[in-house]
Amino acid sequence: MREKMRTIIRFGPIERTEHFLLLLSFTILAITGLVQKFPDNGLSLWIIRLLGGIEYTRTIHHISAIVLILLSIFHVFYVGYKIYVLKRPLSMLPGLKDVRDAIGLFKYNLGLSERPPEMDRYNFGEKIEYWAVVWGTLVMAISGYMLWNPVLTTRIFPGEFIPAAKMAHGYEAILAVLSILIWHAWHVHIKHFNKSIFTGRITLEEMEEEHALELKRIESGEWPPPLPPAQERWRRAVRYLPLAGLVAILLLITTYYYFTEQTAITTLPPAPVEKAYLPARPPGLPTATPAPEMAEEIPKQLVRYLPEPMSISSHPMDDARADCTACHASYSYIDPAPLDHAEYDVTECTTCHQPAKEVSQR
């Protein structure tokens, strides 16, 4: 028993940090994202309020997205370094053995076989999870970029890509979160709490259960495979690092483009062109019909409000419309001239009534 409680190192500090950042950014992304996917849910609104409103929620989502993307870029180069420079084996690649292990464990679970399969450094469950994260991050990063920068995206792709990206982003999120809740939570939290990704160490008992093959190989001295000699490593690093650095810079520039688009105006959309207040007659006129003979004097005496002359906004000014009074006589239905305009000459109309800006530009 004491022997079984002995631990061995499973994850180094870099892997542990990577996992921690992934855990952090994923959780924040999931929370700030799902509340946007289900905006009419009471809990969503409560969270949005807690985060200080939807605009802040989106900013938090964007920042976490950038953290996850930078982490992903780092991960690609770190894995490349491990494979090329340190010549580590591709232990995460799925193979036929994983299918056999899955079937074997399934049979064992159902009681159809006596013993569970012996699994290697990464068992099939862990590989499923790893590649699910790779797929999910790719889908989310690409569709997320499209949603964040729709104007840039539609310069190249058809507009339909934006709603398609929104669809993918939302459903992939649900898939990812539920996968984590079912697959990840069961295997490393509920079945038993596997702390090795935080502590870096794993007990031999856990190894026996989940990575029996790896344990055997460690015991036989077969694993881990020896590092290449220092000279060889140095030679490879000199080749790898500049190239990786260059690609990394390119990827970082791409990431920077996540922020560059000014998708929409930051102010309110422009107000309608109609002028809200433009009385047909000065307010304060009696609302009961005055006696006929008074109709002529009243407006003259009551002119206290001088509204700005109405600009000509509904049609261009051209020869066909030279005679304003043809349509806008004081008795006309269409924007009639006020009564006190009766003595003005037709040629004088444009002295006060200028064509509106948007018309003259036409």
């Binding site: 905006p39 399934f106 104007v151 929409a264 959309p269 009961a288």
Partner: protein, 397 residues
């Protein structure tokens, strides 16, 4: 220095003599009325007032040099909502409660508009609810802020000719109401009359909105306010989410749901729920469709007609191009004919999500089964049962 002219007779030249002749009669009238009238003998009847005020051309000049007409057409008064029924007749002095017999008290030193606004306060004596509702309206706020040209009761309803407003009880032309607003909002009313709603309203169609359907009378909000902006999609939804009503015109009721489901709509909905006082630049219905001159999307002048769409999008998305406009699904739900890419993505996940999660669930299910079974079988071994029972779960942790 304004001189208070208390007696209208002193300034009216033509009618002056006539009025002077009437004065003895006026003084006699109260005693006559006393004998004739039933319920409240002290209050002058309308007939008594009309003895003088029926006379055409009667007027007085206010201290502000404005002419205040004093003639009342009994016909107009009789047809008005207040005067239609002799038994429920509203008397002149019910509103003009500062007047009480003749000679009238001196006219206060105010201009015409101030007087009119002051008179509008008496409406609330009977129409209490409306007066309360009105207190928060944009017009009342503007008046309070010193913009006296903003509408008060009589500006919309008329004063002596106050007209019927309830279409259920009386024959009311809905366009009268548009005309009432048009007194001040002329350009907007003209735009409205050109809209698909206005055109139908002019034909007498009772289904389309007139001004007050979106800007409820009395409670009328400032349409520039954040509150109104965030609520505005619901205003449109009142009709456009009504299946029965929309079926008549073959308009899809999806328009509201698809708006709320998309980025603009869900953001606006979130703002309304969490930050109702904050402006959002996310588009509401009127930003694309226009507020007053709403045209059907098939109209060449419509801002949402496909050829005009890029211009409409550019109002908020200045760098948008033709492609960009297609990113809005035009209020359609994804379908294979119109939007194959979106629908393909949708179906991809309709398949992948259940298959993946189903696989996970089945596998985890069997794993749970085995784990529990193993635990039981371990317990059956002779080693201390109680010990294992308590520590069983944490065994591995």
């Amino acid at each position: 220095m304004r001189k208070v002219i208390s007696n209208p007779c002193s300034v009216i030249s033509v009618q002056g003599t006539l009025l002077l002749l009437l004065i003895p009669i006026l003084i006699l009238i109260p005693s006559i009325a006393h004998a004739q009238d039933g319920p409240d003998p002290d209050r002058p009847t309308n007939e008594q007032c009309l003895v003088c005020h029926e006379e055409p051309g009667l007027s007085m000049v206010l201290p502000s040099n404005e002419v205040l007409p004093l003639s009342i057409d009994p016909g107009i008064l009789g047809r008005s909502a207040h005067g239609h029924d002799a038994s429920e007749e509203v008397r002149c002095v019910d509103c003009h409660n500062d007047l009480d017999g003749y000679p009238h008290p001196p006219f206060p030193d105010v201009d015409y508009r101030t007087w009119q606004l002051k008179m509008s306060l008496v409406c609330g004596n009977c129409h209490e609810d409306q007066a309360t509702d009105r207190q928060n309206s944009v017009h009342a706020r503007l008046i309070a802020a010193g913009k006296f040209e903003a509408a008060s009761c009589a500006d919309c309803h008329g004063s002596h000719d106050v007209f019927w407003v309830d279409p259920e009880k009386h024959q009311v032309d809905r366009m009268d109401q548009v005309d009432a607003c048009a007194q001040c909002h002329r350009t907007i009313a003209d735009q409205y009359k050109l809209s698909v709603h206005g055109q139908e309203a002019l034909k007498g169609n009772p289904d389309v909105p007139v001004c007050s359907n979106c800007h409820p009378a009395h409670k009328i909000l400032d349409p520039r306010s954040a509150e109104f902006r965030l609520k505005s999609p619901e205003l449109c939804g009142q009709c456009h989410a009504d299946e029965e009503l929309m079926a008549k015109y073959d308009i899809s009721t999806d328009v509201f749901d698809t708006y709320v489901a998309d980025f603009h709509g869900s953001t606006v909905a979130i703002f309304e729920a969490t930050e109702p006082g904050v402006y959002t630049n996310k588009a509401v219905c009127s930003d694309c469709h226009g507020a007053h001159r709403i045209l059907p999307p098939t109209d060449v002048n419509s801002s949402v007609m496909s050829a005009n769409l890029v211009k409409t999008c550019q109002r908020c998305h200045p760098d948008a191009n033709e492609n960009f406009t297609k990113s809005w699904l035009g209020h359609y739900r994804p379908n294979w004919e119109k939007y194959p890419i979106v629908t393909a993505v949708q179906w991809f996940y309709y398949l992948v999500i259940p298959v993946t999660l189903g696989f996970f669930a089945i596998f985890v299910g069997t794993d749970i089964f085995r784990t529990i079974k193993n635990k039981f079988s371990r317990k059956k071994q002779p080693k201390g049962e109680a010990e294992d029972e308590s520590g069983g779960g944490e065994d591995h942790a």
